[in-house]
């Protein structure tokens, strides 16, 4: 093939290609081609059909067999193996460290190489099957525990949410939907109460929107009086008045009331009293100041 030493060109007729190409393959196998001739030959091989490529390698193989027959029967020293492996593996490690994967490693470090090799060996099955099975079992157990904890957590939150929703719904049924807004609106201010005297589980709270003249009074677990009722009284330097009279109905009692003019619910003094008679007032609860 006369154009082998120049640019690859038009394919010559098959028979000519066969002889010319064959001779070039012989020369290549012996190492008698220049670098450029070698590149041209490799290009020719790359653009040829598979049959031609195979034939080119068959020619090389034939020459190699001849070369092999003429080789001296000498044996390398045993230490040569160690030197070869050491040199190649140093180059492999250096190549890895200098690559993207190992860029942040200290010079000479083979930690990542060890990790990568370990991982590849593990995934590739070059670790004992016993260890692989043990690792998989451990992984499965860990995943299961994680799932269970996560699921339990989510379920717990869900249950709390459902309970809260139920409680809110029940409360709303009791006090009326319009008062539910007091509990859901973040602008609402709270005035908590505490029991006076004997320890009890009674609870009370005033909720109100600042600037508005209405407020909501809520009580829980106030003992139901046999005869009589409870009173909610407010005291300020300028005001002393009973604003709510009520009889507890069940566990929770909620009452909407008008805040006296000039009274700041948060700074005023509030007290819940009970009386069997108007002249025998007993303070049951007062706001926490």
């Amino acid at each position: 093939m006369s154009n082998m030493t120049g640019e690859p060109g038009k394919q010559p007729p098959p028979h000519q290609l066969e002889e010319d190409l064959r001779e070039f393959c012989v020369a290549d196998a012996v190492g008698a081609l220049s670098e450029k001739e070698q590149q041209n030959l490799e290009y020719q091989e790359a653009v040829s059909d598979p049959g031609v490529r195979k034939a080119m390698w068959d020619v090389r193989e034939g020459v190699m067999k001849q070369l092999r027959a003429d080789l001296p029967k000498v044996e390398p020293e045993a230490s040569l193996k160690h030197r070869v492996l050491a040199r190649v593996l140093r180059a492999v490690e250096s190549d890895f460290v200098n690559s993207t994967e190992g860029r942040d490693l200290p010079s000479g470090s083979n930690t990542a190489m060890i990790k990568r090799n370990w991982l590849e060996r593990f995934v590739g099955g070059r670790v004992s099957p016993v260890w692989r099975v043990a690792a998989l079992v451990l992984l499965t157990i860990s995943a299961g525990l994680f799932w269970n904890l996560t699921a339990a957590n989510l379920l717990n939150k869900s249950m709390i949410s459902i309970a809260r929703d139920n409680e809110t719904e029940n409360f709303a049924k009791f006090v009326g939907p319009e008062t539910l807004e007091y509990f859901l609106n973040p602008l609402v201010q709270h005035v908590p109460f505490k029991s006076i005297g004997e320890e009890s589980d009674a609870r009370a709270r005033i909720l109100y929107f600042p600037g508005e003249d209405h407020a909501f009074f809520l009580t829980k677990n106030l003992p139901i009086l046999v005869e009589g009722e409870y009173f909610l009284r407010v005291e300020t330097p300028s005001v002393d008045a009973i604003v709510v009279r009520f009889t507890p109905r069940g566990q929770i009692t909620g009452i909407d009331f008008v805040v006296p003019s000039g009274v700041n619910p948060t700074t005023a003094s509030w007290v819940i009293t009970s009386s069997n008679t108007q002249n025998d007032e007993v303070k049951v609860m007062q706001n926490i100041s």
Partner: protein, 210 residues
């Protein structure tokens, strides 16, 4: 054919590492894929299979034993670097390894611009010189083999003899030989091809195959 149970085991592991069952892929392809990845065990297996062959090739062309050992290291380095280009569907691994080795050895000769180990084409070369060169390393087989090669080359037609001595044993390129012998490259190329064919026939005759 297996070299040892240990190598067999490594071969199975190499196949598994590629996600296929042993036997479903070319052993050679699997080995070279692993070599390309820098797997130490694969590189070691490659040396176990071809280290001796590569050393003998280096020993034939390099002027000293130390040069031959250096060349072997360089060749395996090159085999690792080019392992990704190996395609078992095109060539047997031994052919590919020998080609890479041969190219490297000839390149090294040209770079160093040293005479290779004294070969048959140097008329002043004697067996005594050869023994002195190897200083005790030479074996009777080496002497006998080299003698036979020398005789076969001597039996070739003149042009073929001149070409094969320079290309086959001396590491010259076709162009260099063409300039030295003042002949067209095409003539040199054809002479080399015929010379090698002639040498193969003579080997077959010697071994009683023809």
């Amino acid at each position: 054919m297996t070299e040892s149970p240990e190598i067999d085991r490594l071969k199975v592991l190499f196949a598994h590492s590629l996600g296929v069952e042993y036997g479903m892929i070319s052993e050679d392809q699997g080995l070279m894929d692993s070599v390309a990845e820098g797997e130490g065990a694969a590189i070691e297996l490659l040396y176990d299979r071809f280290g001796k062959l590569v050393y003998r090739m280096a020993y034939q062309l390099m002027p000293t034993k130390a040069d031959a050992e250096d060349a072997v290291q360089e060749i395996f380095l090159r085999l690792w670097q080019s392992a990704g280009r190996y395609d078992s569907s095109k060539a047997a691994l031994v052919t590919w390894v020998m080609l890479i080795s041969r190219r490297h050895l000839v390149d090294r000769l040209r770079r160093q611009k040293v005479r290779p180990r004294p070969q048959a084409f140097d008329e002043s070369w004697t067996l005594a010189d050869q023994e002195q060169q190897h200083s005790g390393e030479i074996s009777a087989l080496l002497t006998e083999r080299q003698q036979r090669l020398r005789e076969r080359i001597e039996a070739l037609p003149e042009l073929q003899r001149e070409v094969v001595q320079r290309a086959y044993l001396g590491g010259r390129t076709l162009r260099e030989i063409s300039l030295e012998l003042d002949r067209p490259i095409g003539t040199i190329k054809s002479a080399l091809s015929r010379a090698l064919a002639g040498l193969r026939e003579r080997v077959a005759e010697d071994e009683g195959l023809l």
